[in-house]
Amino acid sequence: MPSVSSPNTQPEPESVPALSVPTRHRDNPLTRSKPALIGFAFLALMFFACLGSLPWTLSAADSSVSGVPRYDTGEPKSGRLPPQWWPYDEIDTSRSIAAVDKAALAQIATAHNSTIDEILDGSNEPAAKAALAQAPAFILGSDTLGRSLAVRILTGGGISLTIGICAAFISVGIGTIYGAFAAYMGGKVDAIMMRIVDVLYGLPYILLVVLLAVASNAMLDEYQSRARTKTNWSINQIIDTQSLDSGDPLTKSEARIIFETDAVIQDELMLQAVQIYPRRVFSAGTRTTLDVLTLLIAIGGVSWLTMARVIRGQVLSLKNQPFIEAARALGSPGHRVFIRHLLPNLVGPIVVYATLAVPQAILQESFLSFLGIGVKPPLPSWGNLAAEGLSELNTFRSHWWLLFFPCALLGMTLLAMNFVGEGLREAFDPKRSR
């Protein structure tokens, strides 16, 4: 029924339609990108798991067997076992039971009125089941030497991530300083510095890494064995004795020929030399650390080229910004303009490139380890775990877990890092679409 309004009442004021205000996108551009967020969560998990477990995985598994770290502890008898949640076939079962301690096996045999042989060939099923329950189980399976793949992947992840991050830091550090310096100086300095980069770009980086790794290895070996010191000492001995005998001193090259041709003298002198210059002994940990250090310096040392170019471009455009000129007009000395006014403006590209350089470095490390010139066994890394897994892959018995898990984790970590890097790049990009 239509309402009859009295003439006295005011007409109902029409409600003003609410203006539709577009909702503001004030949220953090980094968290707005879902892949970046998921990637970040995954990375955080990975870092926590791999780096957090390093003290545990690197510690000795058994205090009685000192020196063997947990990642290297295993029983060859229980080698190549699939993940415990994976259905075992007959061979897996029998090998798994075979790995059970003999005393425990005997105990089970007596409990089930059976013999050890019956349990081993599976003829007494309940006894075999009981034995299987006591068998070593591995959450991600075990490798050829019966080491837990899970522990090795955690250790390998810790090593790979550490190398990746450190190498990225080194490459970003060198690249930033080099590129910024070249651009800031400008002119001939810039031209020469960037031509050097061009030349290095032309060389295959893997060759450089291999060269660096080999050279540093040789240097470490020389440091340990002191071969050159010993040879020099021997040659000097020859010169001394000869000059005492005849009063006619030999030249160095003559003495060297005697040393190299006369095996008897050589052996005798070298025996003496070893007494004076004993072999320098590194602990296993020191040598491993030095190897890893070499590797990350090699990777960092060759991957700064892109960074140098990126930063140079940024500095070239920043250098002509009025605020840099304004800083000079205020009387700031050159180095102060560089450090205080130029570098802070480079934080954006540096952060973005660093996040993208980490996965690159990890990939390079894995690649080198895969080729056998990176992290040396028994120390695991995702790369040499994958290499090991690949060699175990064959047509009649695929030990798939050995290849799958390291590769999956490596792939997922790289993907997550790239997502985060992309998210950061977008967040720093002033021209990003809203």
Binding site: P322, F323, A326, A329, N345
Partner: protein, 374 residues
């Protein structure tokens, strides 16, 4: 009227009697890669006194900024090069120095401390990653031996001086939180925090709207008077010149074509180019189908025969004109040009003919509108 306001003799303040900076016969050229060097300025002469605003006007590329930047040695060298001339600056202790020959280290004590500069683009002249407070404090600590607390106080005071409300709070703001006018005020606060004796304002108001422009210029004018500061105001805007300048220097193609005090120049422009500039300003109340262009005036040969002494062969210098026949060429790039005092306190750039006396004319000196401090 013009003569009445010019009272150089009635100068009670001794300091204002001495030139603050004299640009003498300055020539700067730039390397052009393969081509010949580009002569940005040549034979430029000007003088600034304390408490005086010298406006430098001219079109883009005529050498205004190069002259100003040269006095701070902010010209990138190479490609730039100082060919000739000197810029004599009287330091606070009375010592006269040539700014062109100082080392980079020596220049640092001049930049910001003795001579400050305000740049054209307030939007980009502040470092986006620091708060404005940080940047003003940096300017202070670079030249003054003060504690952080004192520097903070000086910075707040200078922000207050340039009319920024709530200076304490704004110290912590970043440049992007400021409007263009506010940023230009910050730039001025930065420039003035060290009490410079000469301010180079390179188109300080070009990027701002007219209201803010008026405020900023008024601010510079006030500070000039209260601090007895010399100002070189570089601008395109003849309105700004008329309002703010004491002395005007008109430049064209790297040369000073006319130099006079502001009333003289506007009432009695002597050089055809200046006449062209003034004629091209549209005036309210007059109707034109189209506005007068500068070309119309400088293309007219008759315009070049109006200088006093024209009968003796004194012709205004102009790069497009054929040089007069009786040109006395000197063995220098700008040898055919010189700045000549054609009337009292009124200099015009002329061809260096036999009718023009002297080849080493001094920098034009004009005391103007000396403030009676008594």
């Amino acid at each position: 009227m013009t003569q009445a306001t010019t009272q150089p003799a009635m100068n009670t303040n001794k300091m204002t009697n001495v030139p603050l900076m004299e640009v003498k016969n300055l020539a700067v050229s730039f390397d052009n890669g393969s081509g010949p060097r580009i002569q940005a300025v040549d034979g430029v002469r000007m003088t600034v006194y304390p408490n005086q605003t010298l406006a430098v006007v001219g079109e883009s590329g005529c050498g205004k900024s190069v002259t100003a930047m040269s006095s701070m040695q902010l010209i990138p060298r190479p490609p730039g090069r100082f060919d000739r001339g000197e810029i004599i600056y009287r330091m606070e202790n009375g010592e006269k120095v040539n700014l062109l020959t100082r080392t980079e280290h020596e220049m640092r004590s001049v930049r910001g401390n003795e001579i400050a500069m305000i740049f054209q683009e307030p939007m980009t002249s502040l470092n986006p990653v620091y708060t404005v407070g940080d940047q003003i404090i940096e300017a202070i600590t670079l030249h003054q031996d003060v504690s952080a607390k004192e520097a903070w106080k000086i910075a707040v005071k200078s922000m207050d001086d340039v009319g920024i409300p709530d200076p304490e709070g704004r110290m912590k703001a970043y440049p992007h939180q400021f409007s263009g006018g506010m940023r230009q005020r910050v730039m001025i606060a930065m420039a003035l925090a060290c009490q410079p004796r000469l301010l180079l304002a390179d188109e300080p108001t070009t990027a701002l709207d007219v209201t803010i422009q008026a405020q900023i210029l008024e601010l510079i004018k006030d500070l000039k008077a209260t601090r007895d500061m010399g100002v070189i105001l570089i601008t395109h805007d003849l309105g700004v010149v008329a309002e703010n300048a004491d002395v005007v220097c008109v430049m064209y193609a790297g040369r000073v074509v006319e130099y006079a005090n502001v009333y003289d120049l506007f009432d009695n422009p002597r050089h055809p180019y200046t006449r062209g500039l003034l004629a091209s300003i549209p005036k309210i109340g007059t109707e034109h189908d189209r506005l007068i262009t500068i070309d119309e005036i400088v293309d007219n040969p008759e315009e070049f025969k109006k200088l006093p002494g024209a009968d003796k062969g004194v012709t205004p210098w102009w790069p497009w004109n054929d040089a007069p026949d009786d040109l006395v060429r000197l063995d220098q790039p700008a040898g055919d040009y010189c700045l000549q005092e054609v009337a009292k306190d009124h200099w015009v750039g002329v061809w260096h003919t036999k009718g023009v006396v002297g080849d080493e004319s001094p920098a034009p000196q004009l005391h103007y509108r000396v403030v009676d401090n008594a």
